[in-house]
């Protein structure tokens, strides 16, 4: 069956928004845990989340202080923040609604339910214990949707657009987390990690649910160059930039008229694989990440121009 351009676009964005909601939930959750582990004088509080999501200015229009309560509200439940979990789930639902004839019914029901529940219980995030449960529910709900789609949707072109949306969003979030965390939280010491810096890198891995997998593949202490290599290049870790771009490439390979987008994503993937993270000082790392984000935007534009 042929696929409407509009439908392909809706599937793609649905997947991006679900992924965004999940990543944001992970981010808020891990930040809360990290703060509990750090001594008072090195706590950087909640502001870094605003930089990661690129919404510092928008936040300032709505709130006075970047305190815990305001940032959490802004990131989780504020519908005026287009990047909040609730806005993302709402966008995912609106996209899903227009393609209800394409996605399996159970997946639509799950998306619908996840949004309604997230909206209904949004006030729970204001207490720390309620927040953990709430965010866990969002993460599990998003994973359930991903699983339902993997297990029940035809693995046809529509599924390729779904995976492309998810993986581009994922790669984008991974680069943002590395960028902001390494710039604002972490000192430049490579060899001589203090226990707290170590904790911070563990926090980076945990925001991407990568700690355990890092341990399995790296089997070494948590160190900056190894963490960077893992998050940029580890082909078997599903949230690494290399893996995510590889997935996009594999999806494009099934699609018609794929020459241009394949070229764009191929260039990006090679760039990621060639870099030597150990040699990147902070400023270079930042430039490199800027480069990657521009590359991800080019891949998106090329997909949109070809298919949507």
């Amino acid at each position: 069956m042929t696929m409407l351009s509009r439908v392909a676009e809706n599937i793609y964005w649905m997947a991006r928004y679900i992924e965004r909601a999940e990543n944001t939930a992970r981010l808020v959750n891990v930040n809360g845990n990290l703060l509990l582990d750090l001594p008072r004088h090195v706590r950087l509080g909640w502001e870094p989340l605003l930089d990661i999501s690129g919404s510092r200015e928008h936040f300032a229009e709505l709130y006075h202080e970047p305190d815990e309560r305001s940032v959490v509200r802004f990131m989780v439940s504020n519908q005026n923040n287009p990047g909040s979990i609730l806005s993302s789930l709402n966008q995912a639902r609106e996209n899903a609604r227009t393609i209800r004839d394409i996605i399996p019914r159970e997946a639509w029901e799950q998306i619908n339910e996840l949004y309604l529940r997230a909206r209904g219980e949004a006030n729970r995030v204001l207490s720390r214990s309620g927040r953990f449960e709430y965010l866990r529910h969002v993460i599990l709900g998003a994973q359930t949707i991903t699983g339902l789609l993997a297990g029940t949707m035809n693995h046809d072109e529509g599924y390729d657009f779904l995976r492309m949306g998810r993986n581009l969003e994922r790669a984008d979030m991974t680069t943002r987390i590395i960028d902001v965390r390494s710039a604002t939280l972490l000192s430049e010491t490579h060899e001589d990690l203090t226990p707290f810096e170590n904790i911070q890198w563990v926090g980076v891995l945990k925001s991407l649910t990568g700690y355990q997998m890092y341990r399995r593949t790296a089997r070494i202490r948590v160190r900056r160059p190894d963490v960077l290599r893992f998050l940029f290049q580890e082909s078997v870790f599903p949230r690494s930039v290399a893996h995510a771009t590889g997935e996009v490439e594999a999806c494009l390979a099934h699609l018609p008229r794929n020459e241009k987008p394949l070229r764009t994503v191929g260039t990006l993937r090679r760039k990621v694989q060639r870099v030597r993270p150990a040699g990147l000082e902070q400023a270079q790392l930042h430039d490199f990440i800027d480069d990657l984000q521009a590359g991800l935007a080019r891949v998106h534009n090329s997909i949109a121009a070809t298919y949507f």
């Binding site: 042929t2 351009s5 609604r97 227009t98």
Partner: protein, 490 residues
């Protein structure tokens, strides 16, 4: 024990389930016994389960308000089904088939020779003033001579229990998805009741709709490309458009997804480029279909669509212009239309209708506004009506003026006492008025098998006490409709 049939009031009214206080109709007995055995807590649980199912399934309809724009509301649903015996339903079904066959012959005649006008059976001036007659359709031969492929006819019972046709919806009738979903909800909530009854299934409709649409395809291909054309996600019936497309495995498209090529064929924009479309189940009103022919500012439609249709390169269901028979003045002529084309007596009666265009009828209507229901010819959804017995004097005077100014646009009917059915109000049952909208699919004018009727239809219920307005936009809800074999509980 919380539901007591002994105190349920049915006096002077036909009730669908209860014949007289404490005495259910034979086919309803098992249901009545079952309900009587439920505790308050069980009723609460069933209601909550139904609400949850509706919520989770995302069954919604869209309501517009000035403040918030379009809002999705959960579909109001009553868990007590309405039951109709199969033997009675068979007669209704035969009447509906007869009616729709005659209506299709009538529409086809109007766009060709207009024999019915020449023979003096149908007045020419009615045609001239009809809002839904489309001169652009004159001389066109849609496949198999069918114009109204999908018809939704509203049926009511009066106090004598007789079914009457209240109106025929031949443009873009909606509601069938709710009929299908209501059954899904009931199966989730009351699986044990389905074991006690032999309930005719309803879920065949999407495949019948698909077969009918496929039979219209202009190209001789194994799998014709069928699409459902929706005005978009903000239309109040969008849920249904998406639902039907999904159930048929058809593509759900918006106007901007389609394009008419230089070859006068219709194509859709896909990730592979343009792809040919054979059949369009359009859920957009005539006037928005094609800005080249109708409303020039319409963004919902497809420029050139009428050209492609006239050239026979694409089929449209329903055909443009089918709405000419969807007019409350034309309605009054349906019994004569049936006799004229089929030479048969109508099996299903019309509600007696006074046509204000006739002087004698008009005088009677104006003199008896306090007893009659007055309806404008071309409104739907219960808008623009006068319910005489409940209206104020000044409202009646306003209508008298409206009728004198534009008599062709009004008909009047005696106030029927619509039947009721037990409906949950809190944890008690109370009678509430209802109607029934079956859907009729036509793929040809030939034998019985060319036309199919849904098993039952969508029962709409006025949830407000005493109200007879069943539209979901005005406080209506719905019930599952069971066509049952034999006497329940057997």
């Amino acid at each position: 024990m919380t539901i007591r049939w002994g105190s349920y009031k049915v006096k002077g009214i036909y009730d669908e389930l209860i014949r007289a206080a404490g005495r259910p109709r034979p086919e309803s007995k098992s249901l009545a016994d079952y309900l009587r055995g439920l505790s308050d807590r069980e009723i609460e649980e069933y209601k909550a389960a139904a609400e949850l199912a509706i919520h989770v399934m995302g069954i919604t309809f869209t309501v517009y308000t000035e403040e918030d724009g379009a809002i999705d509301r959960a579909w109001p649903f009553d868990i007590i089904p309405r039951i109709i015996a199969k033997s009675e339903w068979d007669q209704v079904e035969a009447g509906l088939k007869q009616r729709v066959r005659a209506l299709n012959l009538f529409i086809d005649d109007l766009y060709h020779e207009q024999r019915i006008v020449k023979d003096g059976v149908f007045p020419a001036e009615l045609l001239k003033d009809s809002k839904n007659f489309r001169p652009q359709c004159m001389g066109i031969d849609p496949p198999n001579g069918i114009w109204a492929h999908i018809c939704g006819s509203d049926l009511v019972r009066d106090r004598d229990g007789q079914f009457y046709v209240l109106e025929d919806n031949l443009r873009v009738p909606s509601g069938v998805s709710y009929m299908l979903e209501n059954r899904q909800v009931m199966k989730r909530v009351f699986p044990e009741l389905f074991g006690q009854y032999s309930i005719r299934p309803v879920d065949d409709y999407p495949s019948q709709l698909y077969d009918m649409l496929a039979s219209l395809a202009p190209r001789d291909v194994a799998q014709p490309e069928i699409v459902v054309l929706t005005p978009g996600v903000f239309n109040s019936a969008y849920f249904e458009h998406a639902y039907l497309a999904q159930q048929m495995g058809a593509e759900l498209v918006e106007g901007s997804d389609l394009v008419v090529g230089r070859d006068d064929c219709v194509y859709m924009r896909t990730i592979e480029g343009l792809s040919r479309v054979d059949v369009i189940y359009r859920r957009i009103d005539d006037l928005f279909l094609d800005p080249e022919v109708f409303e020039p500012d319409s963004l919902l439609g497809v420029p050139g669509l009428m050209r492609a249709w006239k050239a026979g390169n694409v089929a449209l269901a329903n055909a443009p212009g089918a709405g000419v028979a969807d007019d409350k003045v034309v309605y009054a002529f349906v019994p004569r239309i049936i006799e004229y084309y089929l030479d048969e007596q109508p099996l299903l009666p019309n509600v007696p209708t006074y046509k204000c265009i006739d002087k004698a009828d008009r005088d009677y209507v104006i003199a008896n506004l306090d007893k009659l229901v007055v309806k404008p010819a071309n409104e739907s959804g219960g808008y623009g009506m006068l319910i005489g017995p409940q209206a104020t004097n000044s409202e009646r005077e306003t209508f008298a003026r409206l009728i004198r100014r534009d008599p062709r646009n009004y008909v009047a009917q005696p106030m029927l006492t619509l039947s009721t059915s037990p409906t949950l109000v809190g944890n008690r049952v109370e009678p509430r008025h209802l109607d029934l909208r079956p859907f009729i699919l036509s793929k040809g004018l030939g034998g019985d098998r060319d036309i199919s009727v849904t098993t039952g239809g969508l029962t709409r219920v006025a949830l407000r006490k005493g109200s007879t307005v069943v539209n979901s936009s005005q406080g209506g809800g719905s019930k599952d409709t069971w066509i049952v074999d034999g006497e329940g509980g057997a």
